[in-house]
């Protein structure tokens, strides 16, 4: 893509330029690729650079037209545009009308020229910060260009307290733990479905307690917090109980269709032959 990094004065660190390359403005055909841009201002700055003049000398009107053309093409191609881009397009269209129609006497509000100046200020300020970032990362940096003593011989204790922690540590710990708690609370509150695994855990825990035939419902009543969970709890535990029967951990019995289902823990050898379980 044809964006030439305009700031040739500053040698760019690699990561900087590689991002730059993947961004998508080329002239004159305007190949659209919004993905490479960090928002509408970034796109405007890239478009401004295609004018190949200092930012203070760009034609704002031409820039507005470039931007609007870019957005329109993106929409023709049915690219999803973030709302920011559309808001900027609307503002620029408004700016364009202001620039084209001379200010009437008694007209309130900013003139087109004032609005254009604000836009130029913002572009210039953003570009200044980009240049600053590039100059910053290309300084001699500790651990890359200059080095500290490799074999420090002592710990210089500057403060009296033995313990150390940063505000960032503190906030991270707090946010993480509150979040953890909040999320686990929510899961319990919202749990609408008993998983097979949960049902199986419940049954496994109960099987040891039960010597006599007991209705399945009876187990579950103790575990159900809301009537809404009844159905899912019964369904899941029934499925789980069948699985456990197959594994020989449980015996179940139902006297007739729709009758209560009874179950008990698998009996010992001596009692086993008395009441074989129905399938």
């Amino acid at each position: 893509m044809a964006t030439t990094p305009a700031k040739n004065a500053v040698p760019m660190e690699r990561l900087w330029s590689e991002n730059e390359e993947s961004r998508g403005v080329s002239e004159p055909s305007l190949v659209v690729d919004v993905d490479g841009f960090e928002g509408p201002l970034d796109l405007l700055l890239a478009l401004a650079r295609t004018q190949k003049v200092d930012l203070s000398r760009i034609s704002v009107l031409a820039l507005v037209e470039q931007y609007i053309a870019f957005i329109e093409q993106a929409r023709r191609m049915r690219l999803e545009l973030a709302a920011d881009y559309l808001v900027m397009a609307a503002w620029l269209a408004y700016l364009k009308s202001k620039l084209l129609i001379p200010k009437l006497p008694g007209d309130q509000g900013e003139s087109g020229e004032e609005m254009a100046a604000v836009l130029q200020f913002r572009l210039k300020r953003l570009e200044a910060m980009r240049d600053a970032a590039a100059r910053l990362v290309n300084r001699n940096r500790l651990g890359r260009d200059v080095f500290a003593r490799g074999m420090p011989e002592t710990v210089i204790v500057e403060k009296h307290n033995e313990y150390t922690a940063t505000l960032y540590d503190l906030l991270t710990a707090y946010a993480a733990q509150r979040q953890r708690q909040a999320v686990s609370t929510v899961q319990i509150a919202k749990r609408g479905v008993w998983s097979l695994k949960q049902a199986r855990e419940v049954l496994t825990r109960l099987v040891g307690d039960v010597q006599d035939w007991t209705a399945l419902d009876h187990f579950l009543i103790r575990w159900m917090t809301t009537p809404e969970q009844r159905v899912t709890a019964i369904a899941s535990s029934f499925a789980a109980s069948l699985e456990m029967v197959r594994e020989g951990l449980l015996e179940v019995r139902q006297d007739s269709a729709f009758a209560p289902i009874y179950m008990r823990g698998r009996q010992t050898e001596t009692r086993r032959n008395r009441e074989p379980a129905d399938e």
Partner: protein, 240 residues
């Protein structure tokens, strides 16, 4: 020690006249060797030095020159097996050992409790446990008391009159906060990416009090009897 009254010999490289003793690249090689030896995490062998110095440099001569220049300075170049390293001059070793207290990092649990006390103060131990969902070991609170960042501030006017905890000025000082209300709120924690943007609607973070030194309406001050109870007034045999 008596000998140390001799003035420090200025580095020779500084003097115009001194630099004439060596060809330019010798002086430069000394600078390079100095930097390499300084930055290395372990003693540097002459072979390793040779690999990094310009070709044709007499490494042994360079090292000996560095050693000579540092002979009477606060650090010396010493030989360790067949390698070289800078070390504090022997007579200054006392500077290194003095209060070389190892700084300890707070455990995750301690950080959590500290943060809860900061945000939720005044807060009782039971409330801390409710927020964290786990029991707080006595050691954690002891550690935090030891830091000087938290304090017992009063007693809650509820059955059992539990002790309430809060932060100290030392806490603000250590964490670079002007006041306790400078702790970031929910929006800022989200904005900084520390908190998920999709927290449940009822999730909230308390705003710490404007003046943490003022007791709230449901707090009683700690009195002498309390302090005694808490083992703060009269040292009692505590089994821990």
């Amino acid at each position: 020690m008596s000998d140390s009254s001799a003035k420090i010999i200025p580095f020779e490289i500084e003097g115009e006249e001194a630099s004439s003793a060596f060809p330019f690249d010798m002086a430069e090689a000394v600078r390079m060797a100095e930097a390499i030896l300084f930055a290395s995490a372990e003693p540097v062998s002459e072979k390793a030095l040779a690999a990094r110095l310009p070709e044709g440099v007499d490494v042994r001569a360079v090292v000996l020159e560095v050693q000579r220049q540092y002979e009477r300075r606060g650090v010396n170049l010493v030989r360790v097996a067949d390698a070289w390293a800078f070390r504090t001059a022997g007579d200054l070793a006392f500077l290194m050992s003095r209060d070389a207290v190892q700084q300890k990092k707070l455990s995750r649990a301690a950080l959590e409790v500290l943060a809860i006390i900061a945000y939720h103060q005044p807060v009782t131990r039971a409330e801390i446990e409710e927020i964290r969902g786990v029991e707080t070991s006595k050691g954690t609170l002891d550690t935090l008391m030891e830091t000087g960042w938290i304090r017992m501030r009063g007693r809650r006017r509820t059955p059992g009159r539990p002790v309430t905890y809060g932060t100290t000025d030392a806490f603000l000082d250590h964490f670079g906060l002007e006041e306790i209300r400078d702790l970031p709120g929910i929006d800022e924690l989200k904005g900084a990416g520390l908190l998920s943007p999709r927290m449940p609607a009822n999730f909230s973070i308390p705003q710490p009090p404007a003046d943490p030194d003022v007791l709230t309406d449901d707090e009683d001050p700690l009195d002498d009897l309390d302090l005694e109870d808490l083992g703060l007034l009269t040292p009692r045999a505590v089994d821990d």
